[in-house]
Symmetry: C2
Subunit: 755 residues, 2 copies
């Protein structure tokens, strides 16, 4: 019975459709208090005083907690995955508008909300910095000193560094870029920008902490329960086994619910008041939690007259906001692919994670790569145009092929760059006649392709337990946030054990129950946990065979598990428990050059082709067709793989055309879903999504992750198509109608502002 | 750091004392309905009709359910561990007063209670039988036909047997009893009886079922969650992995909360109404759930003039009540020790489990052995008296010693019979002068010793998980019902891993999380799960060492676990998961002769000595001193071991002196704690409890179970002491003041009834 490759609905679909699926928002515990957050109104300032008296006096208020109260419990209340820079509640200083300053606790959330309005704080305002390039100058310092977490050896040298907003600077050097540029026939340079935007999961952030007897249980909508456990234990000075983190289903994550979000806050509050505490954010409050990096990317390429890229120089500035979160890793781990999926002998990358007085930025579906692809694929298209080469031909001439070294020094393997590119080109009908529209409704086509490495090394552990009737339960720390991970693991376990996926029960994301997993992020789960799960199932199968031998059954025959157990234990009794951990091999890049011959266990490839129609009178861009192709190796569950492509592409469509946080003096001026526009059902274009024929030989049954790849090509393909349609080039996201109209008017010599 | 043998408080003591420990009674779920049970008022009858209309019409009643409704869901709704004879709700027939006939479901338990009063049922009454010896005659049949569960090969031959109330007949034959009796110098025969009594845990029976998406979760106060899972899955025709059974702490179990009690009922109800259902019994309702077997024991011994026992013939009749529960196993697995801890060449045992129209009987702290010891140690004392030999000398002459075959054919090993006996005798000061009291307050001494085998073969599976900081979690299906099992396993795991027990987190009794365990019963857990836990910890230790090697650390050195993980996985990441299953070797006894050379993995030994003062004017027995000695091998946690002895002895004191269910025409006339007297704090005598120096070589660190051994000697030691004090012999439990006074008056030739 072949399981892998079966196209089956997600196992939890019935539970979700009938409203039986568990979410943290549902949770109510006896004696639970609701917390509402009082937030900073200034982008940068010293806290002079916080007046909580009126709030505390409001009937029904249990207690108002400030940073000082937290510090009595936890002397160093700073958390973060890469840097320990973020206080549980602001201490002395606030660094962005919306930063949590105090919390009101009450049995009735409406009372808590009302009491928050009665709190006031006085600040000594400090000058603030919002732009990533400006913040490279140390005129205004967001943090006095860097506080890298002790976890990572490669960040240790940053400890105590001061006088800078650069949290991390990453450098890759391959060949001799300057010499190659000097020799090149053409040297072309551009600067591209992306905006700060949001994950906006339909399930806003929510966490509950329940103090136990010398321990603590946290129920939370989080993508990395193992990290939460370890970090909360660190904050309290406890061993890991005193903290339990339970994650039910997630109503979306997209990288926003990684690491610590509300968890340290509810944990500290619950330990102070010795009662369960729940904090559930409103949609609006999500604008102050975590965002996608705004970026500035200066990219310069040297090209020979034969159209071969000979050198590329990349400078990427990541706007990290007020706290590092995982930003330094974004700058570093995505930074090294900034030169794109091209075979270039001379590459230089400088990538900077920069503190500013904005809402912090972290990982968002692509871990920085969509910002990079936006720039390098817009740039690539511009080069081809400048050189008068068809953009498809130009790319084909330069695409990196398996067996050739990537700029990092790692030889490309199992990256279906050519297949993805060919698939998009073929399905676009690139060589067929194309209707270019009318004077006011102009049509154009664009194409783009991106490459991503997975963050490495990371560890996953899995357990597969066969019960005495042969029914099987798989244990995984992967958070199922809609991507269908439970179902994928059931297929993998079923494949190994020869049973239907539907018969495998998957238990996920409870640190008391499911073993360690680094986190559900960066498309790593299917590969890492999938491999661990396959190995665990194989371990269980081996142990079952050993049990049959113990039971005196002749070797080499496959007995039904129920028979083996009954024979060995005298009745329906016992379990066979297979376990496995998986961590890929990895060689850290050399400092300064970023070179390593083993920098990632697998590569993700995604490409997009777009046909647009631009209304030249309004600037409105209408996507006529969106073609996506992705390399996910051999898909475990093809239907879910295609759904991942479509979800990623639609999400990126929003970031391309409409989504942007608007700041005015550090204040977010559109912090609501009425003003911040995400794609609605009417915005979704006709789509054509394909998983190309490929195989990731090191992956579980040839598979690898797919959650992000569908985002890569969308933005530059659209910009390229607009250029193709209208001759104007948009250098900054989002590509709103206004931006297009401005560009059209500027092109026509009558700028919009003049009217 | 030595952990095993440390005298530490139970790990959960703080949680219990502060009221944080979880119990099923605390549980409330959203949408939960409370069930209240309508019970049979007749001991034996055909159901003519059940009128639920008025109950159904009561405002607030959600639904009234009868057996017919259950049968629509489950066509064969019969359950039981040994026989599938017990209907979830009565079908066609009722077999004892208090049998569940219908259930009212309501959101408010008081409404449900009120509605139960509005239900009426009409029965065609049938003649009933209550006495176990009478019921040997098949004049009145409780069941038409026997329905042994398919689970056990040795019961299969009973299937379909009809025309009898004997659920199981067990026979042991060793040597030639009749010939030896014929040759014996003395042949002495007695008949002893015990009463039906109750477990009476302070936490009454309670179960909650919560229907999920194609599965079911049961929260229940139960000692055998793995059994519940398998049995509920069987009833629904599901695989095991669709049923989850969670057991928090128990407020006492004592064998009452074994197998299915309320679980099948709440499971069926919740599946019918698709809402969570809770049923919590009152103290009074416990009288209709499960009891301790009343017994009649005919025992005959042949003795040589040298005082050596040469032959013993035992006939034991177990009053199993209306449904088998585990009664057949009691009759069989305890039956084979009916001849006592003596070295007798010729033994015959016949043991009968018998259906009657009483509340069913099952396992109660000792699994039948206290009833047996009551008889054989009273009998032994009477023989010694008749032969004019000091009862200590007589026993010492006949005690079975290690290396000699038990009546079952199994050679005794690691059974500290001599040590236990010597300990009691020494601490009693048997050879010292003894104050024999006055004419009206007479004093006497008695002694008794018993032997028990553990039910076999049974399986336990354990998991030991080391986190990346070295903190450790142990997973066990053992239900911690006050016996300190969590703490014992923490000590065992700590011993293996070289860490303090307090650092080991123990997670118990959740079938989704903890692996299979046969059940917490018959003093099996410390030995079986203790061995599994030790092996699992050793497996984890081995894997940790392998991880160190993988990490490139030199072999043979002990690195702190945190260092190994960090080196192997690049950060605080991963787990090491050790697993093990344990099932002892076992050879089933031959049919009819009951002979086997490996009938039990270990023997339990318990002895008691008592000094009493009897008020001859009232019959009141005052226990002056109670000396207990027990063989538990090497104790894991000596303080808890002593507490087990004292708890068992006090419980047995209640069964000896006061506790008895009184029946009148099948009706229990004292179904309340006001009328059914258990020992209060003022009834507890001065006690002297000792664990003798011993070792169970096959046990974990030399240990074995101790939960029951403290019960063995108490009852006969008291009867023997009363005889010693007054010259009267009580042949039946309980030994109430009235019973003693009657005996004294009969002895004096003026029976009490004559006054």
């Amino acid at each position: 019975m072949n399981q892998v490759g079966r196209n089956i609905p997600r196992l939890e679909v019935h539970a979700k459709v009938t409203g039986r699926a568990d979410y943290t928002h549902h949770l109510r515990l006896p004696g639970m208090l609701y917390g509402k957050v009082f937030r900073s109104t200034v982008p940068h300032g010293l806290i002079r005083s916080i007046d909580t008296q009126a709030a505390q006096a409001l009937p029904g208020v249990h207690r108002v907690i400030t940073g000082a109260d937290i510090q009595k419990l936890i002397p160093e209340p700073y958390y973060g995955p890469a840097f320990h820079d973020q206080p549980i509640l602001a201490l002395k200083k606030v660094r962005h508008v919306g930063e949590p300053v105090a919390v009101v606790l009450a049995s009735d959330p409406h009372v808590a909300e009302q009491a928050v309005q009665l709190i006031s704080a006085e600040y000594e305002e400090l000058p603030a910095v919002y732009d990533e390039v400006e913040a490279m100058q140390p005129d205004i310092l967001v943090h006095d000193v860097l506080r890298p977490a002790g976890t990572f050896a490669d960040l240790k040298h940053l400890k105590g560094r001061g006088g800078t907003n650069v949290a991390l600077d990453y450098h890759l050097r391959r060949g001799d870029v300057d010499a190659a540029m000097a020799r090149a026939d053409h040297v072309i340079e551009h600067t591209f920008k992306t905006q700060q935007c949001l994950h906006l999961a339909f399930e806003p952030f929510v966490s509950v902490a329940e103090p136990g007897d010398q321990r603590l249980t946290i129920y939370t909508a989080n993508q990395s329960p193992s990290f939460v456990r370890i970090e909360i234990a660190r904050l309290f000075g406890w061993p890991e086994n005193r903290v339990r983190v339970k994650v039910p289903y997630l109503g979306g994550g997209f990288g926003g619910k990684l690491y610590i979000k509300l968890e340290a806050l509810v944990a500290a509050l619950s330990m102070i008041v010795r009662r369960p505490v729940k904090i559930a954010l409103t949609m609006e409050e999500q604008f102050y939690m975590i965002t996608k990096h705004a970026t500035t990317f200066r990219i310069k390429s040297g090209v020979g007259k034969d159209g071969r890229l000979v050198a590329r120089k990349c400078e990427v500035y990541w706007n990290g906001g007020a706290y590092a979160d995982i930003g330094p890793r974004v700058a570093q781990k995505s930074g090294f692919t900034a030169a794109g999926p091209y075979d270039i002998d001379n590459v230089s990358v400088d990538s900077y994670e920069i503190y500013t007085n904005r809402t912090p930025a972290g990982a968002l579906r692509g871990f920085g790569v969509p910002q990079l692809v936006w720039a390098y694929e817009s740039h690539t298209d511009l080069i081809a145009r400048q050189l008068g080469i068809d953009p498809v031909d130009f790319r084909r001439k330069n695409l990196l092929r398996n067996g050739r070294p990537h700029a990092s020094g790692t030889v490309l393997q199992d990256a279906a760059i050519t297949e993805v590119f060919d698939s998009v080109v073929a399905r676009m009908g690139w060589d067929k006649p194309f209707d270019r529209g009318s004077e006011t409704l102009r049509r154009g086509r664009g194409i783009a392709i991106g490459l991503k490495a997975v963050i490495s090394p990371t560890t996953s552990v899995a357990i597969v337990n066969i019960s005495a009737d042969g029914s099987t339960t798989a244990y995984t720390g992967t958070v199922d946030m809609g991507q269908g991970s439970d179902t994928a693991y059931a297929l993998i376990v079923g494949e190994v054990l020869g049973i239907a996926a539907e018969e495998v029960r998957v238990i996920h994301s409870d640190t008391d129950v499911t073993p360690y997993d680094m986190g559900t992020l960066g498309s790593r789960s299917l590969y890492h946990m999938g491999n661990a799960m396959r190995l665990a199932a194989e371990d269980a199968r081996t142990k079952l065979r050993a049990l049959a031998v113990e039971a005196g059954l002749p070797e080499g025959t496959n007995y039904p598990p129920a028979e083996v157990f009954k024979k060995r234990y005298g009745m329906q009794a016992g379990n066979v428990i297979g376990t496995a951990s998986f961590v890929p091999s990895y060689k850290p890049p050399a400092p300064q050059t970023g070179q390593s011959d083993n920098v990632t266990p697998f590569w993700m490839v995604g490409g997009a082709g777009v046909e647009v129609e631009v209304d030249t009178e309004t600037g409105k861009v209408h996507i006529l067709r969106l073609v996506n192709a992705v390399d996910c190796g051999k898909p475990i569950n093809p239907g879910v793989a295609r759904a991942q492509i479509s979800g990623a592409a639609i999400m990126q469509l929003g970031f391309t055309l409409s989504e942007a946080m608007h700041l005015d003096g550090g204040q977010v001026t559109n912090a609501s879903l009425a003003d911040y526009k995400i794609p609605g059902i009417g915005d979704i274009p006709p789509m054509d999504n394909e998983v190309v024929a490929a195989e990731q030989h090191s992956g579980p049954f040839g598979a690898k992750g797919i959650g992000e790849s569908g985002t890569f090509g969308v933005s530059p393909a659209i910009a390229n198509a607009i250029h193709d349609a209208t001759g104007v080039r948009i250098m900054e996201l989002p590509i709103t109608a206004e931006a297009v109209l401005r560009a059209l008017r500027a092109q026509a010599g009558r700028p919009l502002d003049d009217e």
